[in-house]
Amino acid sequence: MIRTIVSIFITLALILGVSTYESQRVQSTFDEFDKVLASLYEKTENGEVTYEDGTATEAFWENKKNTLHVWLPHTSILEIDYQLYEAVGYLYVRDYKSALPKIEILRGMCKNIPQSYRFSLENVF
């Protein structure tokens, strides 16, 4: 019986620990990425952006997404990849008007993705 109780507490601690770490990790990663995107958006809006700014954002995301694969379904990450590559593509051809909505979408995803995996009633059901 003691073994059963101990195993219950260990399993619960493991699940709660992983859940808390996941929640914080995902949130902080997307918060950081949102800051980078906010800066890119501002530069694009002011016409000061360069292609290198775009590739730097891409590199930042590439670095972060490796760990996100552990926590998030890969389809969510692929969706961000797709939008980001398109935005950087517009920056390469200096089509800032088209790049802005793409960056806007990416910023929206940074808010929505962590929320959709957060513990809440609507997500449970």
Partner: protein, 228 residues
Amino acid sequence: MALIFIRTAIIFIATLVVMRLMGKRQIGEMQPYELVITLIIADLACIPMADNSIPLLYGVIAILSVYFLHQIICLIDLNFPWAKSIVSGIPSIVLNKNGIDDTQLKKNNLDVSDLIESLRVEGYFALDSVDYALYEAEGTFSALPKRNYMELQQSLPIILVDEGKFDEKNVVYTGHDKEYFLDVLKHHGCVELKKVLVMTVDGNGKVYLQQKGKKYETFSLNWEKQLW
């Protein structure tokens, strides 16, 4: 991951409740919660394995959640008998010294023919050859035979009336017609066929008759020869 834990717990409890409601027919040699774990864990292990887009951790956490729930139920099973009866169920005595308890049978979604089949599997062919028969909580069948049970099953009994309805094939097999058996029933105080829970007859003409809500009776039809 907390989401997966909660979702797994909800699916686990929902499946367990359904399994308990389905009765013992659906279980068979496992406690209801053990069957639920077997059903759920196979899918939990397969989905992240086969689908590359789902992180492996999702499967691991879900399996850990099932393990956690299993341990909780084990703890309840060992320490709280009242809760054990809710989670795992209790044995159902479906046949006693008064005959078949059709209320217990219906509670477990079983009928008389299921009971007769279970008895035959255990080696008891006549309904009056056992004093008690029960379905255990995990769905297995047990029976306590009468001391002289071998003498009581000299020939294979067949069902003539099952829950108020004649088994046409078996009636023909006896070489008699429905009228003959309706007369037999009338002679034993049963005027309405729908009040008969079960009536069997063996090759020697030995009848087992039980009316709904009454004790069973056995009698012989005094056939001249053994028919089968």
